[in-house]
Symmetry: C2
Subunit: 288 residues, 2 copies
């Protein structure tokens, strides 16, 4: 079936959801809420509720809604994959409701997966926001680093950077020290510098030791830890990449931290509008 | 004062405590319990109770009992440090009760500390269990890697390897997969191999991806994760060490895992009796 020129697109993640009403390729209306897949039990009822609010239209869903904690598990399409492979892999719930498949890869024996990010990635190229062959980063709980080649997802790796930060802030030895806010300043950049050692387990203990030896104020510890985790991620990834620019799909705050770490590692960073990329990606997929 | 030939030594850690009655350099009696410093409020009363059970003798305490969560904070002696510096740095609670100081270092700008491990380290050399110049590892929640030179603690680094494993097993994305036991087998060694990449945050996500793609049974995930964490620690440390042998102060189970990882990284591993090392270290300190 065809989605036509007027349809609904839903970026449905673990904790958040964003609904787009697309009309003639443009966003006619959008709405964000916290009905992520972990907050939803009856997906059919949720989809019906969206149609009641936005119109009784075809619907294309992407993200964790297609996982085993979502509506129904959509397959993984093996990288390299472009719009054609993704469009061919749609999981149809009914004649006018489909879920975008995830992408899988196997980098040097290490398996990896994405689900939801592929729409932004393919859209970023389609909309001309990034070169067809480029390195993209999607920071977050699980940061994706993606090698695009000729507009297709050639390969990628996921680092649990954000999740490790969150675990360390809420449990264990460092939690009491890491209750501050992250600011992009000297302490963050010191952490980025330490991250160049690519020795996370030892550098983290250094946060405790710095406190015991009176070498860093706890007010700076959270920013330092953030810089260390992001810096380790960036230094590790750039060690095996020849790209001189990293294109970042993220909100300005987190994107700004990654930009600073990338620049401290001698490469250029460019922030890309991830919502524009998502909409462009959805438009490309429905065109096929 | 002098401790004489008959005295009490207490290895008093965060969660466990071991009391030794030393007589003429040998262990006359020993007892282990769970009265670690976090379980104790009145340290003077605990010390009195130990003397009631073991005899009214001089007492030398080591470990977290000398931290700010212990009886009283003992100082850190700066590395390089040997028995003389440690003995000179004793914190006297009263005329016949002393706490062994910790050791601090600053490796390339990264601060580090130890408290309690120094007794085993100095004792291992004193007892002839390890060469006077050697590389020692003390695996645990926070794994110490120590460069001994001429019988003194020249430098060291602490990796939060055990703590990260514990955090990942109890919280976050991987916890549900990591509820098995760790066994020294193929899955552990696969993790060690992956650890050679020194890319913990990404390798950890691979555990999740392997499950989603049906590439590893969850029954093997805990052993794999243990191998990955220990393997990353070992590979990182050995990258900057020329020693062909690592001497391990640990119980046989954890020591066996570290031995296997060290051998998989092309070096020899030797397990050392950490209780014998502790007693030898205490004897050296009281001699001074």
């Amino acid at each position: 079936m065809s989605f036509g020129s007027r349809f609904l697109a839903v970026d449905w993640g673990t904790t958040n959801r964003r609904v787009f009403l697309i009309d003639g390729g443009a966003v006619a209306r959008t709405e964000r809420d916290h009905h992520g897949v972990t907050a939803v039990e009856d997906f059919a009822a949720e989809a019906a509720a969206i149609r009641e609010r936005f119109g009784d239209l075809p619907m294309l869903l992407a993200g964790m809604v297609g996982s085993n904690i979502g509506w129904r598990p959509a397959p993984y399409v093996a990288a390299p994959a472009g719009v054609a492979e993704v469009a061919a892999g749609l999981l149809w719930i009914d004649g006018r409701t489909a879920i975008v498949p995830g992408i899988s890869t196997l980098v040097g024996g290490r398996p990896d997966v994405m689900r939801g990010e592929e729409v932004q990635l393919l859209g970023a190229v389609a909309a001309g926001l990034v070169p067809a062959s480029s390195l993209l980063a999607q920071p977050g709980t699980h940061c994706k680093w993606v090698e695009m080649e000729h507009g297709r997802i050639a390969d990628f790796v996921t680092a649990m950077t954000g999740e490790l930060f969150s675990l360390l802030r809420t449990h264990g030895l460092l939690a009491a020290q890491l209750d501050g806010d992250v600011t992009l300043g000297a302490a963050f950049l010191e952490g980025v510098e330490e991250g160049k050692r690519r020795d996370l387990a030892a550098s983290l203990f250094g946060i405790r030791a710095a406190k015991l030896l009176g070498r860093r104020d706890d007010a700076d510890a959270t920013s330092y830890a953030s810089g260390l985790l992001i810096g380790t991620d960036v230094a590790t990834r750039l060690a095996t990449s020849g790209h001189d620019t990293v294109h970042i799909l993220a909100d300005p705050a987190l994107g700004g931290l990654y930009s600073a770490a990338i620049e401290a590692n001698g490469r250029a960073a460019r922030l890309i509008d991830s919502h524009a990329a998502f909409v462009a990606g959805i438009n490309e997929i429905v065109k096929q």
